[in-house]
Symmetry: C2
């Protein structure tokens, strides 16, 4: 008998039909002899409906009242799930943030969880009652309702699983797992049975929007095995944990990419101590997010800096850099907003220096010119012209043995 | 400086436009130097929307989950009102049932208020913060959300006003006060400036659906002056209190009527002790509500009983009575479901025996035959053929001096 925290997202509880499907999933786990704690988001669309009401009344919206108001979305969902479970002859009880209690910091709209009381949950479990807990909400020291920020229900679920020492935190969503890459780009992308926290973090931050990044960090920190599953289709999903059993001996677990990149290069910057800060400080002060930063070795007392930003911020970054270039006496600023980033991710890379060379070889054979390279322990990213995105991802996917067999069955979305 | 509890019903907060109007009403009272505590119902339609969702999931609906779910309607409304007040530069804070706290009995869907904590409310008032409290909800000893039953927000407001010793509990609704009779029947019906609790109870139970009966009883018990006003039109409404200053010397305050009555008579019942119970016990056991009961003096050892029921229950009451008549050896059962009840209400009646005779005289002159008569301290009710309803009410309204002057301005709805 295992203890599972099962978390259901907005689309998974988006209608009465979906809520009944959720109750069936929970009932199945109970029938298999497991203990289950349910965590739910609001029915899809409800949070936006409430925020739009508030926007008509006040601007900016008072954050205490915002939290109290939008938290009702989860309150309704958990009551409906508890009813659906009772309609199936199971015993269940909804629990609001303050009833658990889930205590948080004071910051109403992006509160951080401080503690999860496990006594009330455990006493329900001991009486064979399924606790159905509101995600996304907590209570602060004043007894006010707080909210964790969008997507915070994943974090609620992980925190509850950590407090209870659950065997798994199962995140039910509308995709059936984490894929080797985006199935819309590579039709032979396959679902990963297992992946590490580190790999998931690299994949998530690179654009695979399956899980909220904070919840993955949290799960890693407290060593809570996470499983991503679909509430729409049966399947075992993808297990995210600390290595465990390497089911596949793959060097590369997945290929992520980002279409929204733009690069800027400032040429001939005097190579003096502190110059990197003089350059990037003002960019960051202007609120422009920087992704990759590359500085090559200096020649003749001058050096070049290249970095990438989100395409939406390309123009403002360009104007700012030109001012800085003048001030620093740099030669020139050049840029390109038609680039993309492709990244190989995999813990297997750590011990295999050959991955990078294989990657560059494969891309070179297809005539794809690499403009920038950046590496970390478990990731290699390259920047290429955007026209090569699909070709590059597909070729790498195949070269690193990620393609599924032609007769394997998958259901991408 | 007075302390007012201002309670707003569902139609008064039914849209963002209406919520802004509510904030204007509160702001006006603040500008006049008063302290204000706001109590609100859910936006109209919201409670029904939620109940319909629940009905799709479970039948009968679990009452604990029902309360937790439907209480979100008020939670949203109070957050929006607090935002609207803040948008007007006032300080305000929403308060849920457990935050006040308003403790109740355990009975989730029709909980009774046990106590209202005044410390948190008073500490807000002392800091010049307007408390905006969710009506209709409370918290039980287990920390669960409870609800008071439909219309319970009026009771919440009265209980809060009683706890705080407020100068007035102002019930804002979609009518601008209590009228001498239904303006749809008598165009010259006028708004009453003042009325007693007892009169209001008689009028409310007789069909003037302005206030929830329980809240009037509650207000009377704790001597909280109630004022019914419109949130749509300015005006002083109707003050409901213990006599106070008799502004009008009227003997009759208002005329109520009920169109949904039917009468049944069981003739020739043996006049033995306990026969009334043998007759009415089974009717009441069958869940049929009985309004008037009349027994005349016995003659030749036999007596007649007549009573009135709701028209919807006429057929089932008739069938049941025929069985009982057989059992008791009564002569016959007769009935009529085309009758109405007309009632004069007024504390002035207590000391004026002439009211009844005037009433019978006035009706007789119009050729209206009186079928049944029932009286209480401050009420006289007669049953007449339904075709005489409008004529009877109009004639009595005029005869007892209730008609407004032709040039008086009123706004019936």
């Amino acid at each position: 008998m295992a203890l599972y925290v099962q978390k259901f997202g907005g689309t998974s509880v988006g209608s009465i039909e979906r809520i009944n499907a959720v109750a069936d999933i929970v009932a199945k786990a109970k029938a298999e002899g497991h203990q289950v704690v349910v965590v739910s988001s609001a029915m899809s669309g409800e949070t936006d409906r409430l925020i739009n009401l508030a926007k008509e009344v006040q601007s900016p919206i008072d954050s205490r009242e915002y939290s109290s108001m939008v938290s009702t979305g989860e309150q309704v969902a958990i009551a409906l799930i508890a009813m659906a479970l009772k309609a199936r002859g199971l015993n269940a009880k909804s629990m609001l943030g303050h009833q658990v209690p889930i205590t948080t910091s004071d910051d109403h709209k992006k509160a951080r969880i401080q503690s999860v009381g496990k006594e009330n949950i455990n006493s329900l479990l001991e009486s064979d009652v399924i606790p159905v807990i509101a995600g996304f909400q907590g209570v602060n020291a004043q007894g006010d309702v707080t909210t964790l920020g969008r997507g915070g229900s994943d974090t609620s679920a992980v925190a509850i699983a950590a407090a209870l020492g659950a065997d798994e935190c199962q995140i039910y969503t509308d995709v059936d797992g984490v894929y080797t890459t985006d199935p819309r780009v590579v039709s032979r992308a396959k679902r990963l049975e297992q992946i590490t926290f580190e790999e998931m973090l690299e994949l998530a931050s690179l654009g695979a929007k399956v899980l909220q990044i904070r919840s993955v960090e949290f799960a890693g920190k407290y060593n809570v095995p996470l499983r991503v599953l679909s509430s729409f289709n049966p399947g075992s999903g993808t297990l995210i944990s600390y290595e465990g059993k390497p089911m596949e001996d793959a060097l590369v677990s997945g290929i992520a990419f980002n279409r929204s990149e733009a690069k800027l290069t400032i040429l001939g910057v005097p190579d003096t101590p502190g110059v990197a800060y003089q350059l990037l400080g003002p960019v960051s002060d202007a609120g422009i997010g920087i992704d990759m930063i590359i500085q090559n070795i200096a020649a003749d007392g001058r050096t070049d800096f290249t970095f990438t930003v989100h395409r939406d911020e390309y123009q403002s970054a360009m104007e700012l850099l030109q001012q800085i270039a003048n001030k620093l006496g740099a030669n020139e600023v050049v840029g390109d907003d038609h680039i993309v980033k492709i990244s190989l991710v995999g813990v297997g890379m750590r011990s295999h220096a050959g991955i990078a060379s294989t990657m560059f070889d494969v891309l070179g054979r297809e005539g794809i010119n690499i403009q920038m390279i950046s590496t970390s322990e478990i990731k290699i990213s390259v920047v290429v012209d955007e026209k090569y995105l699909e070709l590059g991802v597909r070729t790498l996917h195949s070269a690193f043995g990620l393609d599924k067999e032609a007769d394997e069955e998958t259901d991408p979305l």
